[in-house]
Structures are given as structure tokens and as C-alpha cells.
């Protein structure tokens, strides 16, 4: 019976490079996404190293201000669109079919196309450094009229973002359709692993807001070249309207980058606490509420633009509300740990660090929600500290934890636990040395995106730069540990983590080519 069912699937797969170019397999595509993400992470990270090297001391040493602005803009843009988002799509590709008991994604060819758009966009972005005048230098937020002043690289950036957006939308549709249609018999929505839930909601956010980003950058393009005046007051437009549209995309985007991270943490913690996730239902509702709220808080990025007092108050109150579902998530994680039977393998260390450090980012978020305090802190290093606590120790560190967690399943080998722990401790400590002092810098009055600073900021900048260099080097250790695990190591067995209970652990490690040929039954 098994033989008969398998027979039609025994086609030949191309090998070598063509395997990757033509693949429609969710695991191969997931792997491609993750490698792409890692390479962009290291590239955008090296831009950050240059930023920190320039800021090591007051005065201009390494780069001129024009290049510095290119570094900050491209660091942000590439980290967000090249590193964090593709990494989570990589996880979705690998894990969603495995966790819902499906053979593959719903649209395998679309999946291939979604991935292969990324290198095209990346080539455009990276080559824009060599365009006349260098890369885009108006910040990742691309505010006009500054953006309108730029050269050809600004148009290349617009095109690259369009392509990235297209890839994200197609990826998101694929994930939604897969989750809604290919679940194993018996797996009702409220029985789905939380990681699948977070991705379902994230995918809806992507479909909702990526077109908004696409339209706003198209408006920039037509303002630049086709005589429109959407953002030019001289022609009846309004530069602040760009910010409204951009942040209507931008704030849900923040949750696009953090909800799957919540999913990963909610998977890892129960495994190593050997205890069911506390408050599954409230976790799902919390994610859904955060997603809903993300659409009505955008103008908190714009408190200093001078909006009417009613606007400031509305967006302040709605922003404060986000603390409630976010708090529920943190409380549930702590309750999951409570009276568990805890062990501290590398993924667990990362997950616990994410809970603590993300919460610090949440606290600074509450501080920033308060309009008067935000007016002092807007566009300072406090904001830089805040979003790195959310996006590095929230998103990036949960990605690292997730990689260690599932690497044995994906490769069939156990990773080197000693190296993993070294990587964790170096990352966690260096991260705090880099970013914690930035709170102080922001409070004391250092604006962000400046290539040089007044003398009273010198000491903390030097500390922060030293931390950054260690943080950067630690990621090379990460890459080495991952490659070492792929090339060999102790056999992982089907289920290396005794506390894990989702469907992927019922398969071999690595899983068979068409993950589940017969749908498993979930009761």
C-alpha cells in the first residue's frame, strides 16, 4: 500500500545548482530563505559595524557624513526586508507543513518564485552603493522631501522594495492557504501549534499592509519623476501625509517582525519546561488583539510632527493599550516556566533571554507611548535602544533560538551545545553592552542618525561600539556552529527534545522529501 502511494512521487530531482533554482520543495525553499537571511544579516551587520566604528570617538574618522547616512539607511532597510522578514518566512516554509501534517506548501511553484525574487531585489539594493552619489541615504523611513532630493539609487531602492513586497505578499498568501487548507484531519484551528497561529495572523498583516507600502513608494516615484506633488506643499501636497501612509504600513510591519518570534518562543519554552504552554487560548487572543491594535497606533511615530491634541491623545491611548495583550503573553510564558522541569539548552537560553529583553523593549515602548516623554525622546538614541531591544533581542534572538531548536530536525545532527552556549552568552552580553547605554544617550540628548556627536556623549558611545564589535564577531561563531551541524555531528534521532510534542517530531530527522505523505490524525 505504501509503495503504491509513493510511486508517483519518485520523480528525479535535479542536483547541484539546478536543484535550488528549480526546487518547489518547502524544505529546500525554507533553507534558501534562511541562507539568504543569514547573508543579509551579516552584510547589514557589517554596515552597523562601520556605523559603530565611526561613532567610536567624536569627530569624523572613517566615513564622511554622506556615506554615514547611506550606512544607517541601508542597515535598517536590509535588516528589516533582507534579514528578519525572510528568516521568518524561512521558518514558515520549513515548519508550517511539518507542524500541520501537510506534504508541502499549498502553492509550491509560487513558493519558488517568492524566494527567487529576493536575490533580484538584494542585487538592486547592494549595487545601489555603486550608483553615482552612493546608496539611498534618507533613512529606512524614506521621508520626503529629503527622499526627493536623492539620485538614481533612490529609484533603485523603490524598485527593490516593490520586488521585496511582491515576494512577501505571495509568500503570505501561500502561508494562509496552506494553513487554512492543508491541516491534518482533526487539527482544528484551536489545536494548531502557536507558531502556526502567529504566522497565520502575520500573513494577514502582510497582505494588508505591503500594498500600502507599495503605493506610498510609488507616490514617491511619481513625485520624483512624473510631476506629481503628493508630498510637495508647493503643489498642494503634504510631506506629513507620507508619514501617515508609511507608518500605517510601518507599525503593523513591526508586529510582522515580532509575532512569529512570539510563536517560536511559545514553542521552545514549553519544550524545555516539559509542560504545556500556559493559557493557549489567551495567547491566540493576545496575538490577534496585538494585530488588530497595530492598525490604529501608527501616528505614535509622528508625535513631533505637530498633530492636533485630539490626535496625540487618541494615538497615545491606543498605543498604551498594546501593553495589555503583550503583558498577557509575558505572564503566560512566566506561568509556563513556573513549576516546570527546566533544562537550559541553547534554544531555551535564547527563549528566556527574549522574554526578559523583549520586555525591557516593551517598557521603553510604554515610556515612548506617553506623548510628552516621546517628544523629548523622539529621534534620539533612546528610540534606537528601544527598537533594537524589540527587533534584535526580540526578533533576531528568537530566530537564533529557533534555528538551534529545529536544526537537529532539519539536518539530522545535533549541534555543538558548547559552541551554541558560547554563542548565546556572547550575543546576550554584547547585545546589552551595545544597546543598554543607548537609553542613557537618548535621555541625555543625543539625536539618532548623526555621524558625529557632542563630547558629553563620548564615553557611552565608546562602550556601545565595543559591545557592537563583540556582538558582530559572535555571529561568525553562529555561522560556524550552524555549518558544523549541517556537515555532521551526533545523530539527532526523530525527537531530540523529550518535552516537544508537535507533529514534526513524529517524522525522521531530516524529514522525508514530501514531509507527510499520509496525513497524521490529530485528536
Amino acid at each position: 500500500m505504501e509503495e503504491v502511494l509513493h510511486a508517483p512521487h519518485h520523480e528525479e530531482h535535479p542536483s547541484g545548482l539546478m536543484r535550488w533554482v528549480t526546487t518547489t520543495n518547502h524544505k529546500d525553499i525554507g533553507t534558501l530563505y534562511l541562507w539568504f537571511s543569514l547573508s543579509m544579516f551579516l552584510f547589514a551587520g557589517s554596515l552597523a559595524m562601520l556605523i559603530r566604528a565611526e561613532l567610536f570617538q567624536p569627530g569624523l574618522q572613517l566615513v564622511n557624513p554622506a556615506v554615514f547616512n547611506q550606512l544607517t539607511a541601508m542597515h535598517g532597510l536590509i535588516m528589516i526586508f533582507g534579514a528578519i522578514m525572510p528568516a521568518f518566512v524561512g521558518f514558515a516554509n520549513w515548519q508550517v507543513p511539518l507542524m500541520i501534517g501537510a506534504p508541502d506548501m499549498a502553492f509550491p511553484r509560487l513558493n519558488n518564485w517568492s524566494f527567487w525574487l529576493l536575490p533580484v531585489a538584494a542585487t538592486l539594493l547592494l549595487s545601489s552603493f555603486f550608483a553615482p552619489g552612493g546608496a539611498m541615504a534618507a533613512g529606512w523611513t524614506m521621508y520626503p522631501p529629503l527622499f526627493i532630493q536623492g539620485g538614481i539609487s533612490y529609484d533603485m531602492t523603490i524598485l527593490a522594495i516593490h520586488i521585496l513586497g511582491l515576494s512577501s505578499i505571495m509568500g503570505a498568501i501561500n502561508i494562509i492557504v496552506t494553513i487554512l487548507n492543508l491541516r491534518a484531519p482533526g487539527m482544528t484551528l484551536m489545536k494548531m501549534p502557536l507558531f502556526v497561529w502567529t504566522w497565520l495572523i502575520t500573513a494577514y498583516l502582510l497582505v494588508a499592509v505591503m500594498p500600502v507600502l507599495a503605493s506610498v513608494i510609488t507616490m514617491l516615484l511619481t513625485d520624483r519623476h512624473f510631476g506629481t506633488h503628493f508630498f510637495n506643499a508647493g503643489g498642494g501636497g503634504d510631506p506629513v501625509m507620507f508619514q501617515h501612509i508609511f507608518w500605517f504600513f510601518g507599525h503593523p510591519e513591526v508586529y510582522i517582525m515580532i509575532l512569529p518570534a512570539f510563536g517560536i518562543v511559545s514553542t521552545i519554552i514549553p519544550t524545555f519546561a516539559r509542560k504545556k504552554l500556559f493559557g493557549y487560548t489567551s495567547m491566540v487572543w493576545a496575538v490577534a488583539s496585538i494585530a488588530f491594535l497595530s492598525f490604529i497606533v501608527w501616528a505614535h511615530h509622528m508625535f513631533t510632527t505637530g498633530m492636533p491634541v485630539a490626535g496625540q491623545l487618541f494615538f497615545m491611548y491606543s498605543t498604551m493599550l498594546i501593553a495589555i495583550p503583550t503583558g498577557v503573553k509575558v505572564f503566560n510564558w512566566v506561568a509556563t516556566l513556573w513549576r516546570g522541569s527546566l533544562t537550559f539548552e541553547t534554544p531555551m537560553l535564547f527563549a528566556i533571554a527574549v522574554v526578559c529583553l523583549f520586555t525591557i523593549g516593551g517598557f521603553s515602548g510604554v515610556v515612548l507611548a506617553l506623548v510628552p516623554v516621546d517628544i523629548q525622546l523622539q529621534d534620539t538614541y533612546y528610540v534606537v535602544a528601544h527598537f533594537h531591544y524589540v527587533l534584535f533581542s526580540g526578533a533576531a534572538m528568537s530566530i537564533m533560538g529557533g534555528i538551534y531548536y529545529w536544526l537537529p530536525k532539519w539536518t539530522g545532527h545535533l549541534y555543538d551545545e558548547t559552541l551554541g552556549k558560547w554563542h548565546f552568552w556572547l550575543t546576550a552580553i554584547a547585545f546589552n553592552v551595545t544597546f543598554f547605554p543607548m537609553h542613557f544617550l537618548g535621555l541625555a540628548g543625543m539625536p539618532r542618525r548623526i555621524p558625529d556627536y557632542a563630547l558629553q556623549f563620548a564615553d557611552f558611545n565608546m562602550i556601545s561600539s565595543l559591545g557592537a564589535f563583540v556582538l558582530g564577531l559572535a555571529q561568525l561563531l553562529f555561522m560556524y556552529t550552524v555549518i558544523k551541524c549541517i556537515r555532521g555531528g551526533q545523530p539527532a534521532g526523530d525527537k531530540p527534545w523529550d518535552g516537544a510534542d508537535s507533529l514534526e517530531w513524529t517524522l525522521s530527522s531530516p524529514p522525508p522529501y514530501h514531509s507527510f505523505n499520509t496525513p497524521p490524525r490529530v485528536d
Binding site: 491634541v309 491611548y317 513556573w338
Partner: protein, 379 residues
């Protein structure tokens, strides 16, 4: 520094925790600037309050977590318990944060309303952001000047020792009277800038084509420093703000003096200058207004800002050169300097550019020529 009763009160406690000390050491300043206005003080107190609430929540949440990490380990033989929900507990920890948020929102709302109240001001000053300097216009006083960074390029390039107020010093500060409500109206010429002086509790974006406003009342005379907070291009980091608060009598005297100087400058613009004199004056104008893009060497930044050294415009006919400087170039960072600089300054800087680096035209432009162009354009 304890000029008001209630903020040093928090300071002692804050020092204790080591998370929010006052301005103890300049090099390790870790808190908001010492407030110089009532609003800045309220912001300072709000921040301190929220910080303490967050610190409390952190303890409540993470002490149990660290306890679990410490005691509920598998290596200690701890067995996992089976519970995974508790409706009452879950409802409680949804409601409790809501209550805390309301507690935070009430005082915050009061401060927001106070900050927005720009009515009944004593004086109004229009602030215009430009790449990369600020223009201040005292409304109803016929006084307008540009304030740009006074930090020498050599300090930025590490060729000279950095001064005490490195990057936070200007050629002409904004002078305001103490004890009076100053209303600022903001706009910008080119891109969005943001006028920020931490000690005053004012940060307001200056948006081209639109007017925004904010206000402050400074209690004690002093010098308060800040800088542009919104990315505005290459010179963003070099766009400082200095506010000098003086007693009202001194302010009135300053205003009179400014007007006398203005009248003197007007009459001198009518006379004929020697080329060397213009070139010498022009160098100062060039450093303050042109060098950020075109560089002190005149070499520009290839691909971004054109070189003036050997430029066909600069070495070509003076009339075309004047027109470019006066009218700027639409869609680029080259501003219409006719709006910002006096006839003498424009004449001087053009004469300087035509006779510097490898440019040796041997000719210049007289202020009267600039005045004629201005008159023909009706500006």
C-alpha cells in the same frame, strides 16, 4: 542644580537604584537634561514616575521567573506540574495592567494639554529650518537672522582640539527674555527639520509649506543647547541650536543693538568693494553656507554635490554664477540663497568662489549688482 523642589526629590531615590540618576557627571549623563521650563520639569517627573512603575512591574514579573529558573530545574529533580490555564489569574493579569495604564494616562494627558496651549504668548518668533541652519525671525520686530554651526571644520576633522561646546555652538544664538511666554512658529524651506532643545522640553518638526507652533517660558537666565532631531541630509549632525535666555531689560537692549547693526550693514552694502576685500569676507560666508556640500576644498562630493573648483558655472560669466547662487537649483540641495543671504554676503561668496582653489577669474561681483538682480525679481 536643584532649582525646583520636586525633581531632586526623585533624584535621591533614583541614584539609589542606579537607573535614573540626575545630571551627576557630564560624561555619563544618564537622564533627561535638567529642566529649564515648567513643561520640561513635568516631562522629567512623568518619565521618572513611569520608570519606577516599569521597574516595579519588572520585579513582579521576573522575580517569579528567576525563582522558577533557580528552583524548578530538572537537574534538581523537579517534576513538571500539569496545570496550563487559570481563568481567574488570566483575567486578573489582563485587568491589572489596564488599571496601571489609566494611572499613567491621567497626569500625562494634563501635560499634553498644557504643551499644546500656545495662546496668550508675549513674543512670537518664526523658526525656519534650512539645510543646514536655522533662521529666526522676530515677528513684528523686523529682525531676522540665520544661525549656523560655529564649530570649525578642523575640529570635526580631528585637526584641532575640540572645544567645550563642540557641535553645540552657533554663530548667532536665539536670544529670548526670561519669564515671558515665547511662542515659536515653525516652518522649513527645503526638507523636514526638527527644532529640539531638551532643557526647554520643546521638540517640533519644521515642515516645508506648513506652519506648526510650540511654546516655552524660561525661568532662569542661561544658555540652552540643542540640535536638529530629524534626518535632513548630509549636514543633519551639524545643525545646532543655542537659546540664550536673558532678563527682559537685557533683551530689550539687545534688540535695539541688533537693529542699529542692521541699519549699518544696509548702508555699507551700497559702497564699492575691492576684490580682495570681498574674497576675504566671502570665505567666511562660504564656510558657513557652502562647505557642508561643496567642501572647504571646493571639490564637492563626487556624484552627490558638484565641485566648484574648475566648475564651468563658477569660472563662466559672473551673471550666470550669480543667478545660480541667488535662485538655487530646484529639486536639489542647492538652495535659493537670495532668500537667506544679504547682497554683500552673496557678492562676497561669489567673488571668493571665482578666485579660490584653481579658479582664477580675477573678477568678482559687487553688492550693487546683487541688489539690482534682487530688485528686478521684485524680492
Amino acid at each position: 542644580m536643584g532649582q525646583r523642589s520636586h525633581w531632586p526629590r526623585y533624584r535621591g531615590v533614583a541614584l539609589l537604584a542606579g537607573v535614573a540618576a540626575g545630571p551627576v557627571a557630564a560624561e555619563y549623563a544618564i537622564n533627561l537634561a535638567p529642566p529649564a521650563t515648567a513643561i520640561a520639569r513635568q516631562i522629567y517627573d512623568l518619565h521618572t514616575m513611569v520608570l519606577w512603575i516599569c521597574f516595579g512591574i519588572f520585579l513582579v514579573v521576573f522575580l517569579p521567573m528567576f525563582y522558577a529558573i533557580w528552583r524548578h530545574r530538572k537537574s534538581l529533580g523537579h517534576q513538571a506540574h500539569r496545570f496550563h490555564e487559570h481563568p481567574m489569574l488570566e483575567m486578573a493579569w489582563t485587568a491589572a495592567p489596564a488599571v496601571i495604564l489609566v494611572v499613567m494616562a491621567i497626569p500625562t494627558t494634563k501635560v499634553v494639554l498644557a504643551m499644546k496651549d500656545t495662546a496668550a504668548s508675549d513674543i512670537s518668533i518664526k523658526v525656519t529650518g534650512r539645510q543646514w541652519k536655522w533662521e529666526y525671525e522676530y515677528l513684528g520686530q523686523d529682525l531676522k537672522f540665520i544661525s549656523s554651526s560655529a564649530t570649525p571644520q578642523a575640529q570635526i576633522d580631528n585637526q584641532a582640539a575640540k572645544g567645550e561646546h563642540y557641535l553645540l555652538e552657533v554663530d548667532r544664538p536665539l536670544v529670548v527674555p526670561t519669564g515671558q511666554k515665547v511662542r515659536l512658529v515653525f516652518t522649513a524651506e527645503d526638507v523636514i527639520h526638527s527644532w529640539w532643545v531638551p532643557a526647554l522640553g520643546v521638540k517640533q518638526d519644521a515642515v516645508p509649506g506648513f506652519i506648526r507652533d510650540a511654546w516655552f517660558t524660561i525661568d532662569t537666565p542661561g544658555t540652552y543647547r540643542g540640535q536638529c532631531a530629524e534626518l535632513c541630509g548630509v549636514g543633519h549632525g551639524f545643525m545646532p541650536i543655542v537659546v540664550e535666555a536673558v532678563p527682559p531689560a537685557q533683551y530689550a537692549a539687545w534688540m535695539t543693538e541688533q537693529k542699529t547693526q542692521l541699519a549699518a550693514a544696509k548702508s555699507s552694502a551700497e559702497k564699492e568693494f575691492a576684490l580682495a576685500e570681498l574674497v576675504a569676507q566671502g570665505e567666511k560666508v562660504y564656510v558657513a553656507n557652502c562647505a557642508a556640500c561643496h567642501q572647504a576644498s571646493g571639490a564637492g562630493i563626487p556624484g552627490t554635490f558638484p565641485a566648484l573648483d574648475g566648475s564651468p558655472v563658477v569660472t563662466g560669466p559672473p551673471a550666470a554664477h550669480l543667478e545660480r547662487v541667488f535662485k538655487g537649483r530646484a529639486g536639489t540641495a542647492m538652495q535659493p540663497f537670495g532668500k537667506q543671504l544679504s547682497d554683500l554676503e552673496i557678492a562676497a561668496v561669489i567673488s571668493y568662489e571665482r578666485n579660490s582653489w584653481h579658479n582664477k577669474t580675477g573678477d568678482g561681483v559687487q553688492p550693487s549688482v546683487v541688489a539690482a538682480l534682487r530688485a528686478s525679481l521684485g524680492k
